[in-house]
């Protein structure tokens, strides 16, 4: 302390510097940044409170849930209504990611480490464009153009693999089916099934995962790559020993961003999927699945009272689901983070 005082006395110019205080721009900037941080928090809180609040009627009215959504079913409950949509949402998103992640990583690596520079720039630009296409356009394209094209593929998969993997699998707690066989069942045209919805979802999340992964791969320290090259690594080995380990947490983060979009994507699913509410793993069958988001969008116009409350409750579930997935993603990123 005494040294500071001494310094202050000995040098008046230093003290003018110090007392000059924060400039106007600085204070404005800090108010703005704190303000926007607060705004994000308040918006999130407002959404959470709204969802919880509006779900209360449905949560309390265990017997009086008899709106039109209940369809006069005897065992109708909050859970029996929501569970198939949770199942449909997760299954669609999981399939979409399973298809999108490998392709995205391939494209990202190609752009970052294989393509000549000019080609890489062009490809990167195209990926960004793809990310900017509105989902309703994907919905139209998927529903009208893609679905008929997929019919022969589905028939082939159904005939060849549909009977093969009948391992005893996950038995859901409400009215599920005892076997897991993705391509089994009885697909009928038009193929507005979960497989089609998932493929379009995959196309939609592909640009996000690709763009983020590419950024991460490009940040691989040059020195690390040269270390591998100098040991006699081929380009593929550089990717394997340096680029992928370095980018691992980034790829997880990218995939989770994609998963977030796949879980919440409404329009494309709505326009492609013929809905149903079962726990079927037969992704080629039509009228078996529905996602939470698409269900809300398709029902909210006609719903009111307890039905609306029920729909909002499913929205709350989706909200919590994305929260949990984000938390898991953060955990994975933190755990696998490279210590530098």
């Amino acid at each position: 302390m005494s040294t500071t005082d001494a310094a202050e006395e000995s040098s008046s110019s230093a003290s003018t510097l110090r007392r000059g205080g924060r400039r106007f721009g600085d204070s404005l900037f800090s108010v703005l940044s704190i303000g926007s941080g607060l705004l994000i928090f308040l918006t999130l809180a407002a959404v959470a409170i709204f969802l919880t609040n509006e779900s209360v009627p449905a949560l309390l009215a265990s017997e009086e849930l008899a709106g039109f959504l209940s369809n006069a079913e005897p065992d109708f409950s909050l859970i029996s209504y929501t569970a198939p949509y949770i199942f449909g949402t997760i299954l669609a998103a999981a399939l979409a990611l399973a298809m999108a992640i490998p392709v995205s990583l391939g494209i990202a690596l190609f752009i970052s480490h294989y393509a000549p520079r000019r080609m890489a720039a062009g490809l990167g630009y195209m990926i960004d464009l793809l990310a900017a296409v509105p989902s309703v356009v994907y919905g139209l394209w998927g529903g009208i153009w893609l679905v008929p094209k997929l019919e022969p593929l589905y028939t082939l998969l159904n005939e060849t693999l549909g009977t093969f993997p009948t391992w005893p699998g996950f038995v859901p707690w409400v009215g599920g089916e005892p076997v897991v066989a993705l391509f089994a069942g009885d697909p009928t045209a038009p193929m507005n099934n979960l497989a089609s919805a998932s493929i379009v979802l995959a196309v939609m999340v592909l640009p996000i995962i690709t763009a983020v992964s590419r950024e991460v791969f490009l940040q691989t320290p040059r020195l690390q790559e040269e270390a591998a090259l100098a040991l006699g690594a081929t380009r593929f080995e550089v990717v394997k020993t340096v680029v992928l380990p370095f980018g691992r947490s980034g790829v997880v983060a990218a995939s989770m961003l994609g998963l977030g979009r796949a879980l919440g994507e409404t329009m494309a699913v709505l326009m492609i999927l013929a809905p149903g509410a079962t726990f079927s793993f037969h992704i080629l069958e039509v009228g078996r699945h529905q996602s939470i988001a698409a269900n809300i969008a398709s029902r909210q116009a006609e719903a009111s009272g307890v039905d609306m409350s029920l729909l909002i409750f499913t929205g709350l579930v989706l909200f919590v689901l994305t929260f949990i997935i984000n938390a898991i993603a953060r955990w994975i990123v933190a755990r696998s983070g490279v210590k530098s």
């Binding site: 006699g232 081929t234 380990p245």
Partner: protein
Amino acid sequence: MAAPQPINVDSLNIYYGDFLAVEDVTVQIEPRSVTALIGPSGCGKSTFLRTLNRMHEVIPGAYAEGTVEIDGENIYHPKVDPVNVRRRVGMVFQKANPFPTMSIRDNVLAGVKLNNRRISKKDADELVETSLKGANLWEEVKDRLDKPGMGLSGGQQQRLCIARTIAVRPEVVLMDEPCSALDPISTLAIEDLIHELKESYTIVIVTHNMQQASRVSDRTGFFNIAGTGKPGHLIEFDDTQKMFTNPENKQTEDYISGRFG
């Protein structure tokens, strides 16, 4: 194995795109000896060094013209795969660069495991031990081989990189200012190591430290540039003893006396 042959560099021009960085180098590097490259910064020492294992060309647009013969084979022959060259000519960088996600053990084995070469656990253990011993690091790390290589001190990391380089049993080891980021004690440790390594390897080391060049090397090459934007040239190449006491070339003399005086 046949007696090791010298590295023959003939009329080598080295480019970054249109820019001629190093011009017309012709030199013979003795096997199983230490050759030091000195000169002011920017004169092309690193650039030249990196042409000896074809690392130069990994920079976009960079290429070299001329020939570099190692073991009687021109490594710039169109049929030669640079990957194979780099397995025979190892490299240690200015800044230690162990693989951050790997343990000490895996770092040493990294080069051996490339290209899906299989190695039994026993052979791997042996190789890790001999390589770390060869890099004078074994005693310091033998109890924590499974700990990350990044946890070591700077000097230890650099010796780990040397262990990783010699684990693939190269013929030549290139070093680009390997001690410039190290404290004097670690520097001495590496210089001692270089003395031992020349029994088995041909070593070419770039250094900005002339005392170091005179301590570790048998032969010394002096690079210089006429000015910025001009290409670097190998001005003089001779026994270290002679270069530091009685150089032929005026530039060499100026450079050496300037730094020492």
